[in-house]
């Protein structure tokens, strides 16, 4: 699903799907910007896990909480700040700089 050359590290995405909770609303497939999901017999499956960028759109829109993902900020500088201060990485978009 991803553009050739524009795929990131393998086997790191924290996306998890509990298939038995899926009610087949297909919203995860709608909101995913990278085509991670497909539907087989009206039930969601993760077909392109390595394309997942952990944006969290699928999980926040899943009405039965069948999806879990550790969504967060992907900026290197924000992660360094998080390491240094021991807090959750957060970018300072709302101040005068940009990051995302």
């Amino acid at each position: 699903m991803a553009t050739p050359g524009l795929t990131y590290l393998k086997n790191v995405a924290t996306l998890k799907l509990e298939t038995e909770k899926c009610i087949g609303c297909r919203l995860c497939m709608t909101v995913c910007p990278h085509g991670v999901f497909a539907f087989v017999n009206s039930i969601a499956t993760i077909t392109h896990l390595d394309s997942c960028m952990e944006c969290g759109a699928c999980a926040s829109n899943c009405p039965t909480r069948a999806l879990r993902v550790e969504a967060g900020v992907g900026c290197a500088s924000a992660i360094i700040k998080g390491w240094l201060t021991g807090s959750e990485p957060s970018c300072d978009c709302s101040d005068d700089s940009t990051c995302c």
Partner: protein
């Protein structure tokens, strides 16, 4: 503006706006109050009658604001109520940009406002087709891309964000260059400092501009490795053009210096890219930062050593 300068003055007052002459059946679209987002949406809707509900995202674009939750369920519900949209339109559908989805729970919006959320396409330019197709998006409309132009447009931001760090680094470079057999010499600081500035700026160019531009064609999935490779190539060029007379330790310092700066700045581009995951970036950083730090340290020591 896109460079991050004066961004805070670039806000739209939240509330309900009309495009064309919308009636009670016209589509109702939600937007962030970042002026670039709002203007982009307005121009995409040219010739279409529609309502735009601008929510307060503190002047941040839809995707970034959704990641932080400011473009989110609570704010949408609040604005729907304060703008009394239920009295303005007869239908009960809110068109929310797909990239706003990380901050939104469609089922909770429906519960609180009675409006069902229909996620629009990723790009506002696809909206006329989406609206004409009875709110159906093609799979291509749902995908985020990262084209050459999209990458290039972001490169000035990268440099702009780093401007403070770059100034500190230049100061450090001049101080380091002044160290020598006279303990510290201002003449040496100036002469050797300006000589070291060229590779430093070349490293930033390699990591912030060339690597993003060539991103899909560079080997390795690690941005840091992509940047280091471009840095080494640039260092080769510099060595051939400017430093043919340089001693071996100075050349090694040059290569390590340019590569580590290019690698670090390229790694920072993960934050601008549209496909990297936080878990991946963290893993990459754990691998790359020790290498970057070590080569920068060795380069610094060789550079100081070459003054004696």
């Amino acid at each position: 503006m896109r460079w991050g300068l004066g961004r805070n003055r670039y806000r739209v007052t939240p509330g309900l706006y009309a495009v064309g002459a919308p009636d009670a059946e016209a589509p109702l679209l939600v937007s962030a109050n970042y002026k670039l987002s709002f203007d982009c949406l307005r121009s995409a809707l040219h010739g279409i009658d529609a309502w735009i509900l601008v929510i307060d995202t503190k002047g941040v674009n839809v995707w970034c604001a959704a990641g932080k939750g400011t473009f989110g369920t609570a704010e949408i519900i609040r604005r729907c109520q304060s703008a009394q949209v239920a009295k303005i339109v007869n239908h009960r559908t809110l068109i929310v940009p797909q990239l706003g989805a990380p901050g939104v729970a469609a089922h909770l919006v429906k519960k609180a406002t009675g409006f069902s959320v229909s996620y629009g396409p990723v790009r506002a330019a696809d909206l006329p087709e989406f609206l004409a197709a009875n709110l159906q998006a093609t799979p291509a409309m749902r995908r985020v891309t990262f084209t050459f132009l999209e990458r290039l447009i972001l490169t000035p931001v990268e440099v702009s964000v780093l401007r403070k760090t770059i100034l500190y680094a230049i100061a450090a470079l001049f101080i380091l260059s002044g160290i020598g057999s006279d303990i510290f010499s201002f003449t040496a600081a100036w002469q050797r400092g300006t000589a070291a500035l060229v590779p430093g700026l070349a490293g930033i160019l390699a990591g912030c501009v060339i690597t993003p531009a060539l991103l899909p064609w560079l080997p390795s999935r690690l941005f840091a490795a992509k940047g280091a490779l471009v840095g080494l190539a640039i260092a080769c060029l510099l060595a051939l053009v400017f430093y043919r007379q340089a001693a071996v330790p100075e050349l090694i310092a040059l290569f390590l210096f340019v590569a580590s700066i290019a690698s670090y700045t390229a790694m920072n581009f993960t934050g601008s890219s549209t496909f990297t995951s936080p878990s991946g970036v963290e893993k990459e950083m754990r691998i790359a930062i020790p290498w970057q730090a070590a080569s920068l340290l060795i380069a610094g020591l060789l550079w100081i050593g070459s003054a004696f």
